[in-house]
Structure formats: C-alpha cells, structure tokens
C-alpha cells in the first residue's frame, strides 16, 4: 500500500518536471487577455443603453411626473369608458326599437280642435287636413258616444219624473255657471 503511494508520487514528480514545450506563448497570452477584455466591453455597453433609456428613474422629479401622467391616463381612460358604458346601457333601457324606418300618421290636429273648442270659433274651410285614419277614429268615438248615451236618453225620455229631475239639475248647473 505504502509502495503504491510512493510510486504515484514518483510519477507525479516526473510529470511535473517534464513540462510541455509551448511555442508562441506571448500570442496565447494576448488572445486570453483580448477575450477577457471583449467580455467586459460588451457588459459595459449593455449597461449604458438601459441606463440611457431608463435614466429618468434616477431623476426624482421626472420619475414622479411620468408616474403621475400614467395614473392620469389610466384614470381618464377608466372614467371615459365608464361614462360611455353607462350612457349606452341607459340608451338600451330607454330607447324603443321599432321595425319601421318611417312613421305614419300624426295627432297633429288635436291642438287645433282644442283651440276651436276654446274659442268657440268655426273651423275655416281648407285649413284642416287630417288623415283618413284620424277621421275614422273620430267617427268611431262619436258612434261610441252616441251608442253609450242613447239608452240613457231613452230612459230619461220614457220616465217623466226622471226627465223633470234631469232638467232641474241642468238648469241648476247653468245657474251656477252664471254665478261665478
């Protein structure tokens, strides 16, 4: 065991003493130095670009200004979108969707009729234009009224007592009108 250890030491000594005969050692040295310098230069360059782009992060007022501007942009965006969404949803709730692209008919003569009822004037010829639909509606209403009151009028006519009562009430009403 001991002799093996000695043998190993001997071989190691022989190998240490018999160094390889290197040629162009200076060239090798230069190459190694160049490689090391190049690595360092690349590292330096990348550090400068990032520093250049994000240099503002080291300037207090600039950092604060840009962060404030970003917050303002986000707030404005959120506010605008919220307002728009709210308006669109209100529109959806309120607006009626209809098939037509053109409305027909109108209640346009209502006002005129009211005016003539107010002033007690007669409707002048040529100045009233109403649609057939409106005329039909008026005739229908008139017939409905006539039908509704015909039974009542008949009933009153047939009963003299009731007739007297109604006439009395009507004249009473007229008297009240005059005593404003």
């Amino acid at each position: 065991m001991e002799s093996e250890e000695k043998k190993y030491q001997k071989i190691l000594n022989i190998l240490k003493k018999s160094k390889p005969d290197l040629q162009n050692t200076s060239e090798m040295e230069e190459n190694v130095i160049n490689m090391i310098l190049q690595k360092k230069r690349t590292k330096d360059r990348s550090y400068n670009i990032l520093d250049f782009i994000f240099g503002w992060v080291y300037v207090g007022w600039m950092r604060k200004a840009l962060i404030t501007a970003s917050i303002i942009i986000v707030v404005v965006f959120v506010y605008q979108q919220t307002v728009i969404l709210r308006r669109v949803s209100r529109l959806d709730n309120r607006t009626m969707i209809i098939e037509n692209q053109m409305f027909s008919g109108s209640k346009d003569e209502d006002g005129r009729i009211l005016f003539y009822r107010l002033s007690g004037q007669k409707l002048p010829a040529k100045s009233i234009i109403i649609s057939e639909k409106q005329l039909d509606q008026i005739m229908e209403s008139y017939n409905e009224l006539e039908e509704k009151y015909s039974d009542l009028i008949k009933l009153i006519e047939e009963d003299p007592e009731l007739k007297n009562y109604v006439e009395e009430k009507l004249s009473e009403k007229n008297r009240k009108k005059l005593n404003l």
Partner: protein
C-alpha cells in the same frame, strides 16, 4: 254642452276635410366626422306625383332627384321621389332652412353639430331643432312624468300597436291620462299666452299691469273653466271678463282681449305637415332621445304639439375611437412600468 261640441266638431270635420294626400316623408341626415352632412329625402304618395311644394323640408332642383313608381300585389300604385344632396356643413342646411319655401315654411327649424376631442375618443352631436311657436307657454314636462312623456312623444304607429297588443288595458289608462294632461297643458299654455298678448297689446294703458296681475292669479281658474267646457258661453257673454276685472275695465280691455285671442289663433294655426327624421351618425351611438329603427339608426316623429311651448330637439350623439391615442397611451404606460421594474432590479 259636451255632446254639442263633439257633434259640431265631427260635423265640421266631415264637411271640411279636404285632403289627406301629403307625401309620407323621411329625412335622413348622414353625418360625416368632418361635420359635413349628406341629406336624403324619401317621399311616398299614393295620390299621384309629388310636387316640390308638397315636400315638408327645404328641397329644390339642386338636389339629385330620382322618381319611381311602385306597384304592390293588389295593384295599388305608390309614387316615390328620392332626393340627395351633400352639405359641406350644418350651416349650409341652416341657410336652406332660412330660405324655406316648403310646406312647413311657417315654422323655424335649424340643425346643430358639435365635435369634441376627448383623447381616447372623438364625440359627435347632431341635432335637428324645431323652434317653439309659443313663447309664454309651459313645458310639457311640468305636467307629465317620464312614462307619460314617453307616451306623449310616441308616434301613432307605436301607440296603436300598444293599444291593441298585450297589456292594452294599462296602455289605455296611460293614454287617457296623457290625453287629459295634454289638454290641461295646452289650455294652460294658451291662457298664459293670451294673458301675455293682452299685456303686450294694452301696453301703456292705465291699469294694464293690475289687470294682467288679476288674470295671472286666475290663470288656473280660467284653465279649469275651459276644461269643464264652460268657457265658450261665459266668454261670449262677457261674464268672465266682468267678474275678474270689473265691468268698467272689461269695456276698456275687451278689444285687446279679442285681439289677443286672434294672436293666439295665428300661433296655433300654423300649417304643419308631419315627417320622419333619421340621423345616421359616425361611429357608435351613445345617446339619443329618439327611437331606434331595425337598422340601428335613431329616428323621430314630428308633430306640432311637440314644439308648441319648447323647442323640439331631435339629437343623436356618437363616438369614434382615436386608435393612435390608444396605441400611444399603451406604449407610454408600458415604458413607465418598465422603468419602475428596471429601478427595482438595479436596486
């Protein structure tokens, strides 16, 4: 009294109805982002060819006009006139309205356009406005709630559909309420206008302020008399006047009051032919007070009651996104975020 009034009106209407042949017209404003407007008219009539004078909005030979005839399955003929014109701005449309010779030339109309730059979006607003005919009336919104106002501003098509559809009883009640409130609103506005007109006509006369004040105090009372249909007889017999302002004043101001009534008649008797307004906006619609048709375009009916006491503003608002602003803002936010991360790493 009521029966008599209704009968008289019906009888007169039956005799005096002279025409119902006005064309059904739809005016479409296609609004461009730069504020220019392409205006299109479509007029349909079943009573023969459409004359330029029949058209409800300003329209002349400078428009590109196309006439056609449509015959339906039953053989009924409809005359159709389509016209189109490009307006460089809304001001040019307003100039046309100022020189209006259409069948609705008696009313004042105008258009409005506004564009707002809001960084992420551009917002647009276009409106067709019909000016009010009465200047001393009350806003209809003083008399009706939101639901009733919706009903009031609904076109006949929609009203008839609702009255004959499901939930018709509820709509019938709503319709009756709106009719009653409409009467009250019109009468009250009419009385207010009449009082203002008396004040104007009798200006300078001794005691006019006192008289006007008395009428103003009795405005509600006069309105109720009209609603109860007691006004006709009381007015013609002069009782209203005498009771309110005294016999002597009644004699002095009777002529002014009669003239005032004629003035209101002129305000009321403006001929107005209804038509439909459509507004096609650039971008997405974000606000309107109109209806929306099946193509997603806002549209409005017109009716002389709508602009009796307040301007009738038919408006649509829309927005278009500013893509460049979105991209710029995104890049800026990323840049700031990257800067913050960079600082944390370097620390």
């Amino acid at each position: 009294m009521k029966g008599k009034s209704i009968k008289t009106v019906v009888a007169l209407l039956t005799v005096l109805v002279t025409s119902c042949g006005e064309p059904e017209t739809v005016v479409t404003n296609i609004v461009h982002p730069d504020g220019s407007v392409t205006r299109k008219l479509e007029m349909r009539s079943e009573d023969g060819e459409i004359e330029m004078a029949d058209v409800q909005v300003p329209f002349d030979s400078t428009w590109t006009i196309r006439d056609s005839i449509e015959i339906d399955e039953d053989g009924d003929t409809t005359w159709v006139k389509r016209a189109e014109k490009f307006f460089a701005s809304f001001d040019v449309i307003n100039m046309d309205y100022m020189a209006d010779s259409s069948s609705n030339s008696g009313i004042k109309r105008r258009t409005e356009f506004a564009r707002k730059f809001k960084w992420f979006n551009n917002e647009y607003r276009f409106a067709e406005v019909i000016e009010n005919t009465m200047s001393n009336g009350y806003p209809v919104s003083d008399f009706m709630n939101e639901e009733e106002l919706d009903w009031f501003y609904s076109p006949d098509d929609v009203v008839v559909d609702k009255l004959s559809g499901p939930d018709s009883l509820r709509y019938k009640a709503l319709s009756d309420t709106v009719d009653d409130k409409t009467d009250k609103w019109i009468y009250k506005s009419l009385v207010s206008e009449w009082i203002a007109s008396i004040a104007e006509l009798a200006k300078g006369k001794q005691g006019v302020d006192e008289i006007v004040e008395k009428f103003k105090k009795n405005e509600e009372h006069i309105t109720n008399l009209i609603i109860e249909e007691k006004f006709d007889s009381l007015w013609s017999s002069g009782i209203i006047f005498k009771e309110m302002i005294g016999e002597e004043n009644a004699l002095r101001f009777q002529a002014d009051a009669d003239s005032a009534l004629e003035n209101i008649e002129n305000l009321f008797m403006i001929d107005f032919e209804y038509y439909t307004v459509r507004i096609v906006m650039p971008g997405e619609i974000i606000g309107t007070n109109g209806f929306i048709d099946s193509t997603g375009v806002p549209l409005w009916p017109t009716n002389s009651n709508y602009f009796l006491t307040e301007p009738y503003v038919m408006y649509a608002e829309s927005k278009t996104p500013n893509r460049w602003a979105w991209i710029f803002s995104g890049i800026f936010l990323l840049f700031v975020l990257a800067g913050i991360v960079f600082r944390i790493i370097r620390k």
